[in-house]
Assembly symmetry: C2
Homo-oligomer: 341 residues x 2
């Protein structure tokens, strides 16, 4: 049983989240759900993104199940910064968790790469770096204009996310952690990351480690994604790497994510990586696989490991059973997975 | 005729640069070459990376032909910052030019993508952003440590590189420019880039434009690289994007680059994107294609457009004529291209 806040959001968010909830209900009966109408609708009606009272209510839940946020009617940045990033920062969701797997039944755009060969998890830092919003603009719209962005990194923030990555590697078969940064150019933050990584690695002699610059890692994501097991990296590099990882595992259709506070001092947010896809919204044809896999991450986070495994396996089996080219109905996928768990 | 400084550098740098020089000699007889022994050897012997007197001599040339810099014996960052980045900054090489093309005879790791389908040029800013080295470390090696990196962006710097991108698009068939940034998170620098891009675009009604976030652009580089023509972006995003572009066009074997000062107030540097590859150095088996294509960029920069075109076409023909799996001899490739131009 879990107390779950549901933020279905915009576009296909509503449709896919309904399936995720259906599956949680099947595997963990008795959970309670409170729905919060946040996103473009609320913003367009009231100008508010995340009212204080709603944030306080969200804080009282075990986890947040999120669909998708965003609509062409809202200027870019407002909902992202006001809702998604605000939750990550205010709820101290410092582990941004993004598994990438090439599932049976899905096709990689990479020639010759077969299902099962790619299986990694990117542990992206979620509360620091260039995402903190530090910086400014001077002399705007004049030839003298300057704009700055500042990346802030603390030993505290870097160490805890690196520890989390090693803990996850410990539970995996290959037990390999790759640090990705750009230490040859970002020498200050890079040094902090590299020294902290080395210190934590020294405590884990059973885990093999590797360092790659972000440009090389991006290239390897394409030329040899099989080499990655656990990847730990900063907020911005993680944003980029996880989208490449999603692309090489067949796009964002199966990409789940969690913005996690591992200590559960605050609720964590679980959401598919895909967006609100206004073009197909309301048609009942959106693939809920990524949303349901995000629900599995939610279950795992709350300690329901067996339930999480059953959901993940049911999604994998459903996807593998799809006839190529056959039309997909959102609700039917949810029904099949819910029946299978 | 041109006055060319040759910095062959480390590992395979010497071998491939010799071929590039051979080809320039064939197509532009009478050019003069001065060789500068910079890189790991000089550093290990003297502790110096770029002596002031050498830099002053380099400044007196029309262009710099560079091979590859780097060796495992030198700690990472020293040669990169002390030589490559120093030249970019001190010689105001604000256009970091990286064409990516899927050439006949090469294979993309992307299934179903055929030679000719990918043809883009990334115009990466070369003198600003996170590469300036601003920031610091406080309380190092204590739990209170913080490290910062600052991205500095000026209207001056952003506008000139965007103008260069539009000028290049004007000379291409598709006349399309994509701005890549992360405006929804890096709101200060993103706003400067977006406003400047819009202003320059308004002066070019015959060029179509598009904006993509760096994460989406990285994904499109894999799922649909065909959509890109000219891409303009900041220093760090350009570093990442060009390596993905190189990967999807078959790796860095054909990736040429120029660090260009378009006004020719200072010499520009031309170099293959690949590194010094110590593992195959000295064997005469390194592929000089990227180095020779970099020489073509050098010729184009100096106004020898017809010569540049002939070199590019000769490299393309040589690569297309290679028997699959046949061993490659560095000098023979150079000879064939030199004979063909
Ligand atoms: C929407 C945006 C702010 C966000 C990010 O950059 O983190 C998204 O790209 C993601 O990866 O969750
Ligand atoms: C060697 C390194 C400093 C350099 C960069 O980051 O610009 C390299 O990756 C490149 O792309 O030329």
């Amino acid at each position: 049983m879990a107390r779950i806040a549901v933020v279905a959001g915009d576009g296909i968010g509503t449709e896919v989240t309904a399936q995720a909830r259906k599956v949680i209900d099947a595997v963990l009966p008795g959970s309670t759900y409170n729905e919060y109408d946040l996103g473009a609708r609320l913003y367009n009606r009231t100008g508010e993104v995340l009212p204080r009272s709603v944030q306080d209510e969200l804080a009282g839940h075990d986890a947040i199940l999120l669909g998708a946020i965003g609509d062409p009617s809202v200027p870019p940045g407002i909902l992202e910064r006001g809702l998604l990033l605000k939750l990550r920062f205010d709820f101290d969701q410092y582990v941004n968790l993004r598994p990438s797997k090439l599932w049976p039944g899905t096709t990689s755009p990479l020639a010759g790469v077969k299902p099962g060969e790619i299986d990694m998890v990117v542990v992206r830092e979620g509360t620091e770096g260039l995402y903190v919003g530090a910086g400014g603009v001077l002399h705007q719209d004049t030839p003298a204009e300057i704009a700055t962005e500042e990346s802030l990194n603390t030993r505290h923030g870097v160490e805890r996310v690196i520890r989390d990555a090693f803990a996850r590697a410990q539970r995996r078969d290959r037990r390999h952690v790759t640090l990705v940064h750009k230490t040859n150019v970002l020498t200050k933050a890079g040094s902090l990351w590299a020294r902290t990584f080395a210190a934590v690695a020294a405590e884990h002699p059973d885990i093999t480690t590797e360092y790659q610059h972000i440009d090389a890692a991006s290239m390897f994501m394409v030329s040899n994604p099989q080499r990655f097991d656990v990847v730990v990296t900063d907020n911005l590099f993680g944003d980029i790497l996880t989208d490449i990882a999603a692309a090489v595992t067949g796009g964002i259709g199966m990409a789940a994510s969690g913005s996690v506070n591992p200590e559960r001092a605050y609720p964590s947010t679980f959401e598919p990586v895909h967006g609100s896809a206004p073009d197909i919204a309301g048609k009942g044809i959106a693939d809920p696989a990524a949303a349901i896999l995000s629900a599995a991450l939610l279950l795992e986070h709350l300690g329901h490991l067996d339930e999480a495994r059953r959901v993940t396996e049911a999604v994998a089996a459903e996807v593998a059973s799809r006839a190529p080219g056959a039309p997909l109905r959102t609700a039917e996928v949810g029904d099949r997975v819910a029946a299978a768990v």
